[in-house]
Amino acid sequence: MRLVVLPVQNRELVIIGGGPAGLSAAVEARRLGIKDVLVIDRESEPGGILKQCIHTGFGLHVFKEELTGPEYAERFIEQAENLGVEIMLNTMVIELTADRRIVAVNSREGLIEIQAKAVILAMGCRERTRGAINIPGFRPAGIFTAGTAQRFVNIEGYMPGREIVILGSGDIGLIMARRLTLEGAKVRCVVEIMPYSNGLTRNIVQCLEDYGIPLLLKHTVVNIHGRKRVEGVTIAEVDDDMKPIMETAKFVPCDTLLLSVGLIPENELSRLADIEIDEVTGGPVVNQRMETSVPGIFACGNVLHVHDLVDYVTQEAVSAARGAASYLADGGKKYKHIPVSPGNGLRYVLPQRINVDAMPEERQNFFMRSVRPMAKARLFVESERGVIKSSVLRYVKPSEMISIQLDRDEMRGIKMLNFSLREEGDSVERGE
């Protein structure tokens, strides 16, 4: 039942989310000649999560220099403004339908209804919380996700606590260990349930080792103490099945527990539009032009799968914008796809299906993640006819995305694509 009839705005391309994915897609869309590009963002400024990532390490691939998050964002915000991209801020999209109708809300105009010819999803992801990992204990103040703590420290200017334990060794947790230490807090330890860290080696060195912060691998938090405020946590070693070994349990006093335990693509709107979601990535299933299962709706960035480098987000957003441009040009012509699947050693491959003839570019990017760390591995790309390509990769880690490109000519006429990863002994060196 509809209570009010809204005047519907007709727009050519609407991008939901003004972070690195949305801004990169908007800039590329304007460059490709799409005249009417609207970006909708719920915050008061564009830039997304980059605004609070004040550390360096962004842009090495895209700009060939090492930038901070705000610097990376500002380059795209500036380009978007110069190219005439319209950015609607403080506006929350609350509904998306499969025929690309968008309902959004803000405090100036109230409800807004938009009919878009094409839509790019760029909503990013959110952090897993305590509820997602089931830590027993009371529910005192002082438990934050690492990203929330980062926002408090770098944007709002508040310290979340004085004595800190961090659960999970993802990059945001490591970055916050250093940041809080520099701001005068005592970070007691970083606790990681896996036998290896999910963070970049440089972050382990420059955020933990530089400050003498212990990284406890194969450990987890088994209890949180304190009724009003966190007073400490019990940590314990885990066995090979990740079950805590209670004999090893010990109490660590602290007033704050930060959680850096993973990210989840934010796909509530995608589900409303009946977009097919990949259970492994948590994001939409897409084809060669980053188009979801719903024609005319595209996806890129962390809403599609969680990235470790913003540079790859930009690359993917450029593909999504080119995809949207080709869709606007061909009027949503139907294409047949061949399946792209992950084999041994890989958790997923993106895109999940392709049409070789309808590729917007001569080369297709494929993004994938390994199931475990491997010092040396061989990546095989196979079709029903056999191996198309193979290459040796060094120091593969699940936390570091693998990106490879295939030429259209390498894939012509094939009926399926399978990617797999085989660990190779490090002692055997073969000539290439």
């Binding site: 360096t56 610097e71 500002e74 420290v153 770098n154 520099l182 080696t201 060195v205 060094r394 120091y395």
Partner: protein, 121 residues
């Protein structure tokens, strides 16, 4: 400071190999570097043992209370990071600022400028 013989282990971050490089020190001399797979690793380990350098990123306040992200324009000695943060904690900056603008010079006596990493109106 002990001038005795010692061996220090450095995790190299030049490439993803992450070599654990051992650096032998006698007195104030580096006498031996091992465990590296390339020359860049040896250079990195030498610098880490003699004078490790880091880019500092932090925030300072605008006069109206908003936070302004900043960084050192080049790496500064690691041992001076805390001094630099302390020095910058009292700094107040008048808006508007442009990205890359110098807001503080010679931080912690390093001769290095501190620059903004975003614009604020």
């Amino acid at each position: 400071m002990s001038a005795a013989n010692e061996e220090r282990t450095v995790t190299c971050i030049v490439c993803p190999s992450g070599c654990r490089i051992k650096v032998g020190i006698e007195g104030s001399e580096i006498v031996r570097i091992s465990g590296n797979q390339c020359k860049r690793g040896a250079d990195y380990a030498r610098a880490e043992v003699t004078q490790p350098m880091r880019v500092l990123t932090t925030t300072v306040r605008l006069e109206d209370g908003r936070l302004l992200p900043v960084k050192t324009a080049s790496p500064i000695p690691k041992v001076l990071l805390f001094d630099a943060v302390k020095e910058l904690s009292g700094v107040r900056v008048k808006a508007p600022v442009k990205i890359g603008q110098v807001i503080y010079s010679n931080v912690a006596g390093t001769g290095v400028d501190v620059v903004t990493t975003r614009s604020w109106n």
